[in-house]
C-alpha cells in the first residue's frame, strides 16, 4: 500500500510534465494537422534556458528563491516561445500548402538541427544543477522503515501544472483568441473570411505550446537536476504518445494522456522492471493506434461535406 502510494505520487509528477509537453503536440495537430516532431527539442531548449538562467541568477546571488525561480520561469517561457515562433515561421509556414509529408520531414529535420545546435553550443555532457527546492513531507511510514515521501518539488510541479492547465483551458474556452483557434481548427478558410488572422493564430499556437514546454523543461531541471541535449527526444515521443492516447487534437485528452503515461511508467518501474519502462509506454502507443486510433477523448474523424 505504501509502495503503491509512493509510485502514485511519482507517476502523477511525471505525468504532469508529460501533459504539459503533450498539449503542444495536440494543439499544433489540431490547428494545422501535422505532428510537430521538433516539439521535444523545444522542451529541451526550455530546460537549457532555465538551467542557464538559474546559474546566472545564482552567480548574481541574493534575493528570495521563490522570486528568482519565478523570474527564471518567465524568462524561459519567453525565450522558448521565440524558438517556437521561429520554428513555425522558418520550417512550417512556407510548407503550409504542400503535402503533409513535406512538413513532417521538415519537422524531423528541425528536430535534428535543434538537437545538434544545443549539442554544439552547450556541449554533449550532462549538465547538473544542485537541488534548489529541498525538503519533503513524510506521509506514511512502514514498519520496515519505508517512508512515503511527497517532496515540495513534487507539490510544486503538480500545483504549477494544475494552475497552468486550468488557465489554459479557460483561455481556449472563453477568450476571443481561444475561439479563433477553435475556428481555425474547424475551418481555416472560413475563419479567415470572418476576419480572423489565421497566420497569427497559428503563430500564437506555436508560442503557447512552446511556453508550456518551457514550463515542463523548467520543472524537470529543478526536479531531476540533470539534463543533456538529448532529453527532448524521449520526452517528446512520450508526450506524443500521451497526446495520441488522449486523442490527438483534444486538449483535455493531452492532459489525461500525460497523466496516464506518467502513471503507467511509474507503476511499471515500481512493480516490474525499470529497464522496460519505455517499452511499456510505447506498447501503449501501439495498442492505442490499433484498437482506438482516435484516443480516449478524441472525436472520430468525420468527412467534411
Amino acid at each position: 500500500m505504501e509502495y503503491f502510494l509512493q509510485q502514485l505520487i511519482n507517476g502523477l509528477t511525471l505525468g504532469a510534465i508529460y501533459g504539459l509537453i503533450a498539449i503542444g503536440y495536440t494543439m499544433v495537430y489540431g490547428i494545422i494537422g501535422m505532428i510537430n516532431f521538433a516539439h521535444g527539442e523545444i522542451y529541451m531548449i526550455g530546460a537549457f534556458i532555465s538551467l542557464i538562467s538559474i546559474m546566472l541568477l545564482e552567480s548574481l546571488a541574493g534575493g528570495s528563491v521563490i522570486v528568482a525561480l519565478f523570474v527564471v520561469l518567465i524568462v524561459a517561457m519567453i525565450l522558448t516561445s521565440l524558438y517556437g515562433w521561429a520554428l513555425e515561421r522558418i520550417a512550417y509556414r512556407p510548407l503550409r500548402s504542400s503535402p503533409r509529408l513535406a512538413a513532417l520531414i521538415s519537422a524531423i529535420g528541425m528536430s535534428i538541427a535543434l538537437g545538434n545546435y544545443i549539442q554544439l553550443t552547450q556541449g554533449a555532457r550532462n549538465k547538473t544543477l544542485q537541488p534548489i527546492v529541498q525538503g519533503n513531507l513524510e506521509l506514511m511510514k512502514r514498519d520496515d522503515g519505508f517512508t512515503v515521501v511527497l517532496s515540495y518539488m513534487q507539490i510544486g510541479i503538480i500545483v504549477t501544472t494544475i494552475v497552468l492547465m486550468a488557465a489554459f483551458s479557460l483561455m481556449i474556452a472563453k477568450t476571443s483568441l481561444g475561439r479563433a483557434q477553435r475556428a481555425c481548427e474547424q475551418d481555416r478558410t472560413m475563419a479567415s473570411l470572418l476576419g480572423v488572422n489565421v497566420d497569427r493564430t497559428i503563430s500564437l499556437t506555436f508560442v503557447m505550446g512552446a511556453a508550456l514546454a518551457a514550463v515542463a523543461g523548467f520543472l524537470v531541471v529543478l526536479y531531476y537536476g540533470v539534463i543533456d541535449f538529448y532529453i527532448g527526444f524521449l520526452a517528446g515521443i512520450k508526450a506524443f504518445t500521451a497526446a495520441v492516447l488522449g486523442g490527438i487534437g483534444s486538449i483535455p485528452g493531452a492532459m489525461l494522456g500525460g497523466l496516464l503515461i506518467g502513471l503507467i511508467e511509474a507503476f511499471w518501474s515500481g512493480y516490474f522492471s525499470i529497464e522496460y519502462k519505455d517499452v511499456a509506454a510505447f506498447a501503449i502507443l501501439v495498442l492505442v493506434l490499433i484498437f482506438r486510433p482516435t484516443g480516449l477523448l478524441g472525436r472520430p474523424e468525420v468527412e467534411k461535406v
Binding site: 477553435r182 473570411l193 461535406v305
Partner: protein, 275 residues
C-alpha cells in the same frame, strides 16, 4: 446616376485557369441598399466572381473596388482576412460552412473576433477581464442575440451548430455574416436546398436586411422565384461573359438571357414569364 462611387465596382474582371477562361472582362456595380443578383446557367462563372471578391482567387486581370467609410479598398490586393475585416465583405457558401463543433452563439461571436481582439489588446489579458473586453463581449453577445432573434435561433443558442437542420444552418450562416457588420453581404445560392416555406422566410430575411441595415447584398441564385421577387438589379452571366444587366423586368424580357438560360423553346419562355 450620382457622382459618388458605388459600394462595389467591378471593372474588367477576368479570371483564367490555365487555358480556361472562367470570367471574361466582367464589369458591374453593386449599390448600397440594393440587392444585386448574379444569375446564369451552371458553369457560367458566378461562384468564381465571389471567389475573386473574397480573396480565394487572385484575378488574372481586373479591379475590384469596395467603398467603405469613404475609403476605397482594392480587394484584389488585400490579404484575405482583411477583405472581411477592413473592406467589410462577408459571404456565405453554397455548401454551408459553419463551425459545427461550436455552439450557435459562438459561431456568431467568432465573426466579431476582430472587435474582441482589439478590446483585449491582442492578448490573453481578456481572461482576467482587463480593459474594455468585458464590455466588448457584452456588446458582441447582444449583437449575436439580435441576429439570432431575426433568424429564429434564440432557443438553440447553446447547441452545437452541427446539430441544426439544414435550413437552420443556412440562416445561421447569414446571421454570422451579418455579425461582422459588413458593408456588402455576398450570398452564394442561399435558397439552395430550402423548401418553399424556408425560401419565403429567406426572402423576408433578405428584405429585412436591405430595409433595416444600410448595406449592399450580392446574390448568386438559381431559384428564379427568389431572384425576380427581391432583386433590384440582375447581372446575367453566360460562359464567363456578362450578357445582360438591369432590373428584373428588363432582364426577364431580354432575348439573349432567354436564349442562354433556357434555350429557345416556347415552354421555357412561358416559364420565365411566369416565374
Amino acid at each position: 446616376m450620382t457622382d459618388a462611387p458605388p459600394l462595389l465596382r467591378v471593372e474588367h474582371l477576368s479570371m483564367h485557369f490555365g487555358g480556361l477562361v472562367a470570367i471574361d472582362d466582367l464589369s458591374f456595380d453593386a449599390a448600397r441598399g440594393e440587392i444585386t443578383a448574379i444569375i446564369g446557367p451552371n458553369g457560367a462563372g458566378k461562384t468564381t466572381v465571389f471567389n475573386c471578391l473574397t480573396g480565394f482567387y487572385k484575378p488574372t486581370v481586373g479591379r475590384l473596388t469596395m467603398q467603405r467609410d469613404d475609403t476605397p479598398w482594392q480587394l484584389e490586393q488585400l490579404e484575405d482576412y482583411r477583405i472581411a475585416r477592413d473592406a467589410g465583405v462577408a459571404r456565405t457558401f453554397q455548401n454551408i460552412r459553419i463551425f459545427p463543433q461550436m455552439s450557435v452563439l459562438e459561431n456568431l461571436i467568432v465573426a466579431q473576433h476582430h472587435v474582441l481582439m482589439k478590446a483585449s489588446g491582442y492578448s490573453a489579458l481578456a481572461l482576467i477581464g482587463i480593459g474594455g473586453y468585458r464590455k466588448a463581449e457584452r456588446e458582441a453577445v447582444a449583437l449575436a442575440r439580435y441576429w439570432l432573434e431575426r433568424v429564429n435561433l434564440v432557443e438553440r443558442a447553446d447547441e452545437d451548430a452541427g446539430s441544426l437542420s439544414y435550413g437552420a444552418q443556412r440562416r445561421l450562416e447569414i446571421a454570422r455574416a451579418m455579425c461582422m457588420r459588413p458593408a456588402l453581404l455576398c450570398l452564394d445560392e442561399p435558397a439552395a436546398g430550402l423548401n418553399p416555406r424556408e425560401t419565403g422566410e429567406l426572402n423576408d430575411l433578405l428584405g429585412f436586411i436591405r430595409a433595416e441595415h444600410d448595406i449592399g447584398l450580392l446574390l448568386i441564385e438559381h431559384d428564379m422565384g427568389v431572384v425576380m421577387g427581391i432583386s433590384d438589379k440582375v447581372v446575367v452571366l453566360d460562359y464567363g461573359r456578362k450578357i445582360a444587366d438591369g432590373t428584373p423586368e428588363q432582364v426577364r424580357n431580354d432575348p439573349a438571357v432567354i436564349r442562354a438560360y433556357l434555350g429557345e423553346e416556347d415552354d421555357a419562355l412561358e416559364f420565365v414569364g411566369g416565374a
